[in-house]
């Protein structure tokens, strides 16, 4: 019994800067690897179990994703008894993710939890006495993956999917009612309306693809806005976290006038740090635009680092900023603790009752690690631990969303080609099923139930 498809997954739990392995197993694994892996020196005949140094290059866009070590393992002397490739990468989760994505694009399928082990067993690599252990692995991996998936569904994501699904369901129920009960007095579904609905739902799916839970964070970084009035040390903090002089720091208030974005990696979570212009009333036009921009970015930020100056009392400007971040996920950072303390900490706690407060000195590099820990913990609290399972769960969701989007696009093409409704319905149903994979609802009786709920049918 041999599965023909090639599978891929990220295989090591990752930490900051840690090496991660992308594994590919199956007939196409060598092919796929050769398409994305550019060895330092040309390989004539691939040697099995040999480490090749080189780069992973996105074959479409042509840019280098990561510097990697790649090994090829020829069947049958491999873990799964199939051809296998292991790509050891350095560039952290974002790179691993990207490499995995490339492999999937080139025809690999995302491995199910425990699937490498399952193949190893089914292909006779693992002996009989270990079958129970294999089952335990599969069971526990599956369950963990389920927990991950459901955690990622928190935060309105599953509601959104469900609402898209129910819109698709209504379209399908109408089409099906027309098909199965052509003589009942149900008005024919209006193609123009169906088309409008499909375009609308496709837009919603696109939106979701951009914003899927931790998957999105993994892809684009947790967007973290440094906010505060002028001269409190925002740019200094950015530099301290990056460990380089990225932003200009002066003692002139209003130094930063535009947005500066930089990425750092906190224990495997990519964080996009955004330094902004200090918030104050100003007549300087350029600075004013900067302030407006900061406010706009605030809307989209997932986390705010609200900076206070320890050496000064709380000002009215600070208070107005407190108001702005009231509903935001915020860590309050008291900077300049190396200076004599003037800030009324008690008052601050009163004004920001539900926000964590961290004390640092950007100048002296004090408290920066604690701040990073706090950021990490807050994220984990919000979306669950970030490990290979989270990433895979995110990957799965994204793939399902993209497939759903494709299906709806096909439905629209078919509509333009004047295909009959039952053909168009094939694509709508496929989209609906793909979305169901994300939420775990794939009961096909739903359509039939919807027909009877929505339409008065029967003789």
């Amino acid at each position: 019994m041999k599965d023909e498809d090639t599978i891929a997954a990220i295989s090591t739990p990752m930490g900051e800067g840690g090496i991660g392995i992308v594994r590919i197993s199956g007939e196409k694994s060598f092919d796929i690897a050769r398409k994305i892996f550019h060895p330092r020196s040309e390989i004539k005949n691939i040697k099995s179990r040999y480490l090749y140094l080189g780069h992973i290059v996105d074959p479409e866009k042509g840019y280098i994703v990561d510097e990697v070590l790649t090994s090829f393992f020829k069947a049958p002397h491999t873990y799964t008894r199939e051809d296998m490739v292991e790509i050891n990468c350095h560039g952290g989760v974002t790179a691993q993710r990207k490499i995995l994505e490339l492999a999937l694009k080139l025809g690999a399928r995302l491995a199910e939890p425990g699937e490498f082990t399952k193949r190893a067993f089914l292909n006779g690599r693992i002996d009989l006495s270990q079958a129970e252990a294999v089952i335990d692995i599969i069971r526990s991996k599956t369950e963990r993956a389920l927990v991950m998936a459901s955690r990622q569904l928190a935060g309105g994501f599953s509601e959104k999917i469900n609402s898209i699904r129910s819109e698709l369901l209504n379209i399908m129920a109408h089409i099906e009612a027309n098909i199965d009960f052509p003589e009942d007095d149900i008005p024919e579904a209006d193609p123009g309306k169906i088309k409008g609905e499909i375009i609308k739902t496709r837009g919603q799916i696109e939106e979701l693809i951009k914003n899927t839970g931790s998957g999105r964070i993994m892809r684009e970084g947790l967007s973290t806005l440094i906010l505060g009035r002028t001269n409190v040390g925002k740019s200094s903090l950015l530099n301290a976290m990056l460990k380089e002089e990225r932003a200009i720091v002066t003692d002139v208030p209003g130094t930063t006038r535009d947005i500066i974005e930089e990425y750092i990696n906190i224990k495997g979570i990519p964080v996009k740090i955004i330094d902004t212009a200090g918030i104050r009333e100003t007549s300087d036009l350029v600075e004013k635009i900067g302030v407006e921009r900061a406010k706009k970015y605030l809307k989209e930020a997932e986390m705010v680092l609200l900076i206070m100056d320890a050496s000064e009392e709380i000002t009215d400007e600070d208070r107005s900023i407190f108001e702005m971040v009231k509903d935001k996920f915020t860590i309050c950072v008291i900077n300049k603790i190396d200076l004599p303390e003037k800030i009324e900490v008690k008052e601050l706690e009163r004004l920001l009752p539900d926000k964590k407060i961290i004390r640092i000195s950007a100048l002296k590099q004090q408290g920066i690690e604690e701040l990073k820990d706090e950021i990490y913990n807050s994220v984990v609290e919000k979306i669950g631990p970030i490990d290979e399972n989270t990433i895979i769960a995110g990957q799965r969701q994204k793939k399902a969303l993209e497939d759903a989007e494709d299906s709806l696009s096909r439905a629209l093409t078919s509509m333009d080609e004047k295909m009959p409704v039952e053909i168009i319905e094939i694509d709508i149903k496929e989209a609906w099923e793909k979305l169901g994979e994300i939420t775990g609802d794939t009961v096909s009786d739903e359509i039939i139930n919807a027909i009877f709920e929505n339409f008065c049918i029967g003789k």
């Binding site: 067993f121 089914l122 599969i138 098909i179 295909m419 094939i426 096909s444 029967g458 003789k459």
Partner: protein, 628 residues
Amino acid sequence: MEYTAGYYDVAVVGAGHAGCEAALAAARMGMNTVVFAINLDSIALMPCNPSIGGPAKGHLVREIDALGGEMGINTDKTFIQIRMLNTGKGPAVRALRAQADKKAYQFSMKYTLERQQNLDIVQEEVVRIMEEGGKVKGVVTRTGGIFYSKAVILTTGVYLRGRIIIGDVNYSGGPNGLFPASQLSESLKDLGFELGRFKTGTPPRVHKHSIDFSKMIEQPGDEVIIPFSYTSENIKREQVSCWLTYTNKNTHDIIMENLYRAPLYTGDIRGVGPRYCPSIEVKVVNFREKPSHQIFIEPEGLNTNEMYIQGMSTSLPADVQIRMLRTIKGMENARIMRYGYAIEYDYVIPTQLSLSLETRKIKGLYMAGQINGTSGYEEAAAQGLIAGINAALMIKDREPVILKRSDAYIGVLIDDLITKGITEPYRMLTSRAEYRLLLRHDNADLRLTEIGHEVGLISDDRYKKTLEKKKMIEKEIERLKSIKITPTEENNRILEELGTAPINTPFTLEGLLRRPEMDYEKIKALDKKRPELPPEVIEQVEIMVSYDGYIRRQIEQVESFKKLENKKIPNDMNYDMVYGLRTEARERLKKVMPCSIGQASRISGVNPADITILLIYLEQQKRKKAHG
């Protein structure tokens, strides 16, 4: 006193739509067969609407026909109106629907049974199934006759402990005033079968002369008659019309005022009814905002004035029935000949069967039709045919015919019953078939004639014709693919005349036919040397070319579906020995006893991890065997 009444290969209990197909199939496959009915006048009785076919149901009839069953032929002999439905939609959902002359249908079927070799027809109520050592031995009738047989097929329909309900009146009975079967349920329980209870209903029948058709909308049949059976040719027949009218506020008011007397709402009816055949009281209550409901008046036959009032199924009291009917336009003076009623009956929970329709408990015992929880003539006939075939094959020591979900609606029907189980009377719908585009009514012959031939129900001659048709289709598609149309001025002028875009690179005829606005007839202008082909071949060519992309996608899906279907699970699988299965999955698997990994994966409560574990277990067993 009991006596030995005879020895048979196959005994079929019931001569409804399931029983007739089962008996005919078994007898035609050379089995010495006996078929029972409580009343021989109930053979092939249609206790509800006088029509056969419609979406999904019409597909079933075509499939029955392709496998060598009788329903299509018998309908063609006796229909008084026929129409193709869904003509405005695509080929996958087009379907035939016929109005049959009920009595003619019955007598024609009865006469077919009577003329069938190897088939005895007996009016008797079967009261007991005989079993020994897990194998069926035969049946015992109410008058004490012992009929020994190697296989027994139960097709008892709505008769098991049937109870009729009309308003506050209820009594034990079968449909149409026939006797129910009151003892067989006990025998089934004694054998360890789990039974459930469903209900269904039927509308009143009204005298034609009391209806004013001038106030209604006429619904004639199709001008061009396309028959059900692939063997019927060129039917020319005078057709009769149906009539359309509507309920109104007065009708609904009378229903609402009398709801307290409706057994569906007083709790008198406990059996679960079908959602697709709701009674008028349920429709009015559930869709209160709807000001009117359609009512079709359908003739029950040519030699009768009884008219079937489709849309008015009800179990309201008789006095309410007549009052509400008379509120309807054209029915002001309606005279009811038969009142509407509801009927409750026992069915056997179908997850106790295997996909061959044999019970898992007792070898040689098969069940088909409404006894399995389905509803509808076509659903019954389809199962009857399969049960008849499989009983005969079992006796011949051959593998049963199990149609896959990708082979036929019949496959979907049986798999749904056995794998998923049911919570209401099951009716076939096209939306239940995931490979709907492949399972068209127009290609049932191409899909199934081979199987019918293999079991011996289709003649060599008919099979040969189907093979020829297949070949003609393939050849014609090849030919269209091979002919290139060049972008000459002349060709582009023709194309423009045909209302399609001109070309600037060479195009095959197939490529042109693929264009949504083109059809086979149109491209003739560019196809001078085309062969003379029968219309059914042209139809296939057009469908296969126009929907090629989608058809190919479904074929791919079917391929991967089949991979799992072909991973077999042994019959004697002991799920208690499988390490790592969740309890819920284990229980569900034990209940259904799936025969393949594919079937197992469709059982609700069995998740992908359970399937992996099953795969590993099976592999483990295989290796153990290999190592001795």
